[in-house]
Symmetry: C2
Subunit: 356 residues, 2 copies
């Protein structure tokens, strides 16, 4: 291992790279990690100097608060390589802002731009060979923070660890996505933490999702927990509903994550002259639109899958199929968005950030 | 370190004990741990043989699912020593049942009695010197399970770790407890995981609790998230309200943890001839009862604090003080319950279990 150091970050390089052992043509999502990770601890009320070092397990106390009280938040973003071998981030400031929003809601310390944003640039410079060219290829980036302070009293930790790990990803055909509308289970409470990217929000969905899977549905469309009448979002995606030629998407709220993909697609759609209405869509509206033939599309939007078209949905044990379209908004918007991300089209929005 | 082994559990003993360095007269809750911990991994669809070994940090991968998706559950229970130096557990079967209920809700594997209950007995035999005699002294027991499988795809883990750690505890005067009734924030959704002892439920409460602390209140009384009209529970305690001479406590539900202390106090109260009604109490009822003088007591009930009387509560920026009583149900019930736990009174309920 060789060591070198920037002003702001200590760097210990791995002596060898694992990259040659990786089959980049056959990646499954999120189970291979690059050679390095960034690690930065918070102690005595301050963030210490970040360290980039070889990816490896770390030691943690059995009483660490993350295990007992779930102080754990994360982000999900991607790096893309253009045809000139430059590496690009997509709206990283949005992820940084959301990370700090999540931190605040879970009584965790916010993280400064110097660590979050500079840390991203530094580790991506080191791992640039892991970002493969070609549309669909990307390096998935997982910044996260956990409470490492010890003790089983139910109080916020005083010590935290921020990390960035990276996993090469490839777009893949996820099969036909059928969804089921939640009638009993919920992912978020009013006044809860649904708008935070908090670890606990995801494990809460696993059991209901397993039940849905057993019935042949890949995802759940969550509804508001009080009445189960409003369509909210899916497991890791915001949702768009196309009725006739208008796109509808629920407003973000305390219960719904403010997705970067969602907000980008709204702007792209508007630019393309597609009518977008940000308002709650009722389950009853969806059923009616399906019955009268005006429901054209449902699709999910999120960093991992970009855009995920839905082929049909189930509600109260009835299955509603969606039409197969020639001119799908989902595919058009996906094309436009990925063309910006991969630097194929001009980025008129100013969303892309080159890795220094 | 010496090793010996029962049929079911491997044991590696610590070469020295930390016990002599511990000031048992001045313990703060949950920050000192005993010499050993129990650890048992779940892999390939089965639980491996448990191991009792010296308490120490362990290695974990940065992509372990507990950090990203919050699959983490726990229990809280206590061991007590009687005057003849025997060590006792209180209704451990209830904690085991609840643990498996939590596991199921978070799509984690259930744990068999041989590991959970036998594990408790084995580690308590080894750590019996850490259980101090005298009312108020106890050994707090923290069984917990975390997802240690790796990978950042939002799916249940296939590998888990179950652990038991132990922390000596002493009853302490927690100061006067003033509470604030939740008007905006919530701890649980309908169809959510509020009834599970899931790590994520606790971090969700830290920020609102911090806001309450800043206003001079130690705890929040959570209300239902849809209407904020029904009184539910506190951070780590179920709640009892005494109006005239009747005790009220909310029914357990998907939103409310089924506390062992609560259910034990209900039975003790009935035996003592105190009227108990299990039904939702409305905020409006509480205010009215406070105004007309019929509200006598509010108290929390949970393993850590046993019974925690409340001196007053705030709602919509008005503070309501509770009367100071000679004959408090809270203190009577606490006395009766702890007399059973410490084997001072006969355990006519059959709740206490002697460590083998
Ligand atoms: C619950 C939830 N909703 C929506 C999204 C989509 O957000 P983004 O577009 O920022 O990836 C995510 C994250 O991927 C999510 O976890
Ligand atoms: C949310 C919550 N409610 C109530 C309780 C009380 O349960 P028990 O009496 O079993 O300790 C606890 C646990 O201590 C809890 O975490």
């Amino acid at each position: 291992m060789t060591s070198n150091t920037t002003n702001e970050i200590d760097i210990v390089r791995a002596s060898t790279s694992k990259i040659d052992a990786v089959d980049f043509e056959n990646l499954t999502f999120g189970n291979i990690f690059t050679d390095h990770m960034l690690i930065c601890d918070y102690k005595n009320g301050a963030w210490e100097k970040p360290l980039i070092k070889p990816y490896e397990p770390f030691l943690i106390d059995p009483s660490a608060k993350v295990f007992h009280y779930g102080q754990a938040i994360f982000e999900g973003m991607k790096a893309y390589k253009d045809e000139n071998d430059a590496v690009w981030l997509f709206r990283p400031d949005e992820n940084h802002k959301r990370f700090n929003h999540s931190a605040k809601r879970l009584a965790m310390p916010e993280i400064p731009e110097e660590i979050f944003i500079n840390g991203l640039h530094e580790i991506l410079k080191i791992e640039k060979d892991w970002v493969k060219k070609g549309k669909g290829n990307s390096l998935y980036i997982r910044p996260f923070m956990i409470a490492i302070g010890t003790g089983v009293i139910a109080q916020p930790s005083t010590q935290y660890r921020f990390m960035i790990i990276l996993s090469p990803a490839r777009s893949y055909y996820s099969g036909e996505v059928k969804v089921i509308i939640a009638e009993h289970y919920s992912r978020a409470a009013n006044g809860g933490i649904g708008a935070a990217k908090a670890a606990g929000n995801y494990s809460a969905q696993f059991y209901p999702t397993k039940l849905a899977n057993e019935k042949g549905f890949q995802q759940i469309i969550w509804t508001d927990d009080a009445t189960h009448t409003k369509l909210e979002e899916a497991g890791t995606m915001n949702l768009f509903f196309r009725i006739k030629d208008t796109l509808y998407t629920a407003p973000t709220s305390e219960r719904i994550l403010d997705g970067v993909t969602r907000k980008s697609l709204i702007e792209i759609a508007k630019k393309e002259g597609i009518a977008v209405e940000v308002r709650s869509v009722l389950v009853s509206e969806l059923i009616e639109a399906s019955k009268d033939g005006s429901l054209m599309e449902i699709f999910g939007a999120g960093t991992a899958a970009v855009v995920n078209p839905v082929v049909g949905f189930s509600y109260q044990d009835t299955y509603y199929e969606l039409p197969k379209l020639e001119n799908s908004f989902a595919l058009l918007l996906k094309e436009k968005l990925t063309n910006i991300q991969y630097k194929i089209d001009d980025d008129t929005f100013g969303w892309t950030v080159k890795v220094k």
